[in-house]
């Protein structure tokens, strides 16, 4: 049995989880809370049962009641079946760093209990996120939703790879110019030149969409895929971005997939999969992330450096195991109403 204080202290921090597609963020948070509560109650040190003394009451001759003795019995008012277990779902607070739509998948940073207080600080750092954005030319959906109803169709055959590359380069240049404008630096000045040598200026207004890198990863008309590195984005702005790309090449486009492949220094290998969400892995993940958040402290540089995030020493990460026996306990297909029938 773990000490309850140590266990609770270990459940304060930031966890990195992989959110599957077609799963609401709320159900992911609910799963995390349910696993912490269920396994935490098994690991929690129970309080020893207490005894209390109650009076034995009898009625006297006149009808008045008297105490004629005392009896000892267990104190049921503190029994777990009466007052509930030590950990309750309402005791655990899980908040997301940023909203993710059900159709979006990938890395998701969640604050756990006191770790939620670290989230505003992480947002202020304006870490760039890496995305894989897949789309299809020649159709537009309602509100540019991934699973939206098709509302318009168009021709995509005239669009060539070269034309697509040009549009992407032009958009990237526009974003670079915008970033200089927002940073308050004159684009013709020497300071701007020095900043441009190092990288993209960090936006002075947090929350402003800024695309630093954009590559055409796959071109198989009508399908295409972009690898983006951006900051200040939301799922909706990225989905609308696909429509803008379609409009720039002379047709319409809609997104088919949006995958977040990295948030700042956090990589897919740091994320816990759905089937790996259990108390032990969550505690380990928090400990690993604590070191990472300390190592990558607030970058005061006004420029996003070009350097790639450094992988954390593998020894700290326990999420990658060749023989992950704990995966076997969870039904990977997650059937509704359970798989097996009672014989």
């Amino acid at each position: 049995m773990a000490s309850s204080r140590r266990l609770w202290a270990a459940l304060q921090g930031v966890i990195c989880v992989h959110k599957p597609a077609d799963t609401h963020l709320a159900s992911l948070k609910k799963r995390i809370i349910a696993q912490i509560v269920e396994q935490g109650n098994q690991a929690w040190e129970g309080r020893p049962p207490k005894e209390i003394e109650l009076p034995i009451v009898t009625e006297g001759e006149s009808g008045a009641i008297w105490i004629t003795g005392t009896k000892k019995q267990p104190d049921y008012s503190e029994h777990p079946l009466v007052v509930g277990p030590m950990l309750h779902p309402q005791d655990v607070l899980v908040e997301e760093l940023g909203d993710m739509e059900p159709t979006t998948s990938g890395i998701c940073l969640l604050g756990l209990n006191d770790g939620c207080e670290q989230l505003p600080g992480i947002l202020e750092r304006a870490w760039p996120s890496r995305y894989r954005l897949e789309g299809i030319l020649g159709r537009q959906t309602v509100d540019n939703e991934i699973k939206g109803r098709v509302m318009e169709s168009g021709q995509y055959e005239p669009v060539s790879r070269g034309r697509m590359q040009k549009v992407i380069s032009k958009m990237l240049a526009n974003f670079r110019r915008l970033s200089f404008e927002l940073s308050g630096v004159d684009a013709q000045s020497e300071a701007a030149f020095e900043m441009a040598r190092k990288g993209i200026p960090r936006p002075s207004i947090p929350g402003q969409l800024l695309v630093q890198k954009m590559d055409l990863a796959v071109w198989a008309p009508p399908y295409f895929a972009l690898d983006l590195t951006c900051s200040g984005e939301t799922d909706a702005t990225l989905r609308n971005f696909v429509l803008q790309i379609g409009g720039s090449v002379g047709t319409v486009a809609s997104p088919t997939k949006l995958i977040r492949l990295g948030v700042g220094p956090f990589l897919p290998e740091h994320a816990l999969l759905w089937k790996q969400l259990n108390l032990q892995n969550i505690v380990r993940n928090i400990a690993a992330n604590r070191k990472m958040l300390t190592d990558f402290k607030a970058d005061q540089s006004p420029v996003f450096e070009e350097a790639e995030p450094v992988s954390v020493v593998k020894g700290l990460l326990d999420t990658k195991k060749l023989n992950s026996a704990d995966d076997e306990e969870v039904d990977a297909m997650r059937p509704y109403w359970g798989r097996e029938y009672e014989k």
């Binding site: 077609d22 008045a64 008297w66 029938y341």
Partner: protein, 445 residues
């Protein structure tokens, strides 16, 4: 009134209970109620004594001072003078109780003779009875069931059986006030004995069953006998009856007409025979829990919207009745992916209805992984019909895999392997690769 020395001593000892509801009256002021309890005559005045032998005031609560009640009464009546609780103020007192959450009780009246036997310096016993301390009474109003368990044999017995009273209390807030009033001998024991002796429950099952169905203790025993008798009349065995009553937690709460109507619907609309209905209900007793509407919705969805044949719908129902408990929208989304993207035939789906109950993200992950490896070949697929507005699952689907290009024989992935609960078995036997490779794929999709 002249008080004897003994009474003086008792009064001195009772000073510790001052304000806690002990009222001492002279014997002449006592009248007896119908039940024989002595109550103070409302019109009798307390005897006058010297100041050092002042009698305790009217009943007061141990924790809340009486002036709170007086304050409230003044606020509603507008009077400036404090007003004591008297018989004609019982309605106002009741309102004060409800408003402030305070409890009020009838004053306990002890005679002098009774108090003579009382020695508070020694522990209580039948020879040395102590006056009752109202602090032991549970509160009249409470937000939870916890204050009542220590003084209720019935609730203690339920806890010892394993009933999660916390779960029952929080899930059914209006039920608790009825549970607290249950009598162990008259209400609880007969029902539990019927469940164990006549129905066939194990005693170890009772706690968990009562947690899921606390309303069982409020049902009429004869009605429940009739409901179980209905199952017996329809040919269900004793083991099946136990499984049904335990599996569908509210089965014994539904009346016979409702159950009969729902089972009759299965017989009429889906053309099921009596043995088939028996097998179906004993396999999944919760099938009729949501009523005919749910069954009809899914039946029409599968038959008319998704175009399954009647025998295919029946096959799915008999093999995996939980499909009929699904949400219609979720079921449709999963079917569209399985039939149109994975191209599984309706016949194959009807033989493996579990695939419709699996989470769409899990199905999608496994299919896309197999597609990426060029191993997405299933037992029975439908011919590819190009649909203008439905893209493939991902970009790799638009390109032929290397295996397809070289016309190699791709081993067919059986549905049992595709739907296996373990990712490790799926990765090794269906995808012919390692679990770590599949996990890396999951992290980037």
């Amino acid at each position: 009134m002249i008080l004897c020395s003994t009474t003086h001593r008792i009064l001195a000892q009772l000073a510790q209970y001052q304000g806690k509801g002990i009222c001492v009256r002279a014997t002449s002021g006592i009248t007896r109620s119908k039940k024989g309890a002595s109550v103070a005559n409302a019109n009798s005045q307390p005897p006058t004594t010297s100041s050092e032998n002042t009698l305790p005031g009217p009943f007061e609560l141990p924790d809340k001072p009486a002036f709170l009640i007086d304050e409230y009464l003044r606020s509603i009546t507008g009077e400036s003078k404090p007003k004591s609780l008297q018989k004609d103020d019982s309605q106002a007192a009741l309102e004060a109780t409800k408003k402030l959450g305070l409890s009020s009780y009838r004053a306990i009246v002890y005679t002098e003779d009774e108090l003579k036997k009382c020695d508070l310096s020694k522990p209580p016993s039948p020879e040395n009875p102590h006056p009752f301390n109202p602090a032991h009474i549970p509160p009249t109003y409470s937000r939870s069931i916890a204050p009542y368990v220590n003084t209720s044999n019935c609730l203690q017995a339920l806890v010892e059986l394993g009933v999660d009273l916390f779960e029952v209390d929080t899930s059914n807030p209006t039920l608790t006030k009825r549970l607290v009033r249950l009598d162990l001998e008259k209400d609880v024991k007969p029902r539990l004995q019927w469940l164990v002796n006549e129905v066939g429950f194990e005693p170890s099952q009772l706690g968990e069953y009562l947690t899921r169905n606390p309303f069982f203790l409020l049902q009429e025993l004869d009605d429940m006998r009739a409901r179980v008798g209905y199952l017996d009349s329809k040919g269900f065995s004793k083991e099946e009856i136990v499984k049904i009553v335990d599996g569908c937690r509210f089965w014994v709460n539904f009346d016979v007409e409702t159950i009969d109507h729902r089972l009759g619907w299965l017989h009429r609309e889906l053309k099921l025979t009596a043995p088939q209905i028996r097998a179906l209900i004993s396999l999944e007793p919760r099938l009729i829990q949501f009523g005919v509407g749910q069954l009809e919705r899914i039946s029409k969805l599968l038959g008319k919207e998704l175009n399954f044949r009647a025998e295919q719908v029946k096959r799915m129902l008999i093999k995996d009745p939980r499909v009929f408990l699904m949400n219609a929208k979720t079921l449709t989304e999963t079917f569209i992916y399985v039939n149109r993207i994975m191209r599984l035939s309706k016949d194959l789906i009807s033989k493996n209805p579990l695939i419709l109950r699996c989470h769409l993200s899990a199905i999608r992950n496994r299919h896309e992984f197999l597609k990426k490896l060029g191993r997405a070949s299933y037992e029975d697929i439908e011919a590819l019909v190009p649909r203008p507005h439905e893209p493939s699952s991902q970009l790799e689907a638009s390109r032929e895999s290397p295996a397809e290009k070289s016309n190699e024989l791709i081993p067919v992935v059986e549905m049992a392997l595709f739907l296996h609960p373990s990712d490790e078995i799926f990765a090794r036997k269906a995808a012919r690769t390692y679990l770590e490779v599949y996990n890396d794929f999951l992290r980037t999709h």
